[in-house]
Symmetry: C2
DNA sequence: TGACAGTACTTCGCATTGCGGAGTAGCGTG
DNA sequence: CACGCTACTCCGCAATGCGAAGTACTGTCA
């Protein structure tokens, strides 16, 4: 089964969730997501999602130089982002509950 | 929150699930889905999904005349469809479990 | 020194899929 | 006869995940 389509509309929630407790930069968020179970998520998907969330005003960014590689663009949730995470998590729970009922019969 | 994107990749599983116990025609499946909690699913989405599932060989169809309206094109799960439902349901459970863990912290 | 791998990010265009709108058609009601 | 409900089809759009390519910095190893 291809899980690509399942990720649609979920990746933004997942990215917000990975930033809830700690700021992160794109490559790091990618690793966190893969470690969390989204093994096959593409890098461009994460960067694109971060860009969209930033443009929507849910994230703020700051650049930090690294001594072991190129610079890192950190992302952090602002108040709007935390609200968005809360709303999105509720939407997800409603949605998945509906789906579970349908599958359970 | 817009649930449109969340439906992607899930609608086919949901449609298969509505056909598990009883054959149905497009308009009827639409009503079942809306009754099950997918209030805002569009009719064209359901018809499109049925067409894709049929083309993939998961469904068989037969037409039945109706005495109160136009003809009805019934869809029924075949063996491939039942297998697909089983696999898709597992994929969904894995996926949603991963998501729940991420949101739960 | 030079090739390579890992880190880190960006841009481009493609594929999938849900959806709105329009159209066709049959039936019953006012 | 206009309207509304049922039932289906087709068209084109929008959102989004993804692969591929490119840029660039660092450290390792031959």
């Amino acid at each position: 089964m291809d899980r690509t389509q399942l990720l649609k509309g979920v990746l933004d929630i997942a990215v917000l969730a990975t930033l809830r407790d700690e700021d992160g930069y794109g490559y790091d968020i990618l690793r966190r997501l893969r470690a969390a179970g989204f093994d096959d998520v593409g890098d461009a998907s994460v960067y694109g999602t971060l860009r969209r969330l930033f443009q929507a005003g849910h994230l703020v960014t700051y650049v930090v130089a690294s001594d072991s590689g190129p610079h890192r663009k950190y992302y952090s949730l602002n108040q709007s982002g935390r609200l968005q995470l809360k709303l999105a998590a509720e939407t997800w729970r409603d949605f998945s509950a509906t789906m579970d009922r349908l599958l359970a019969d």
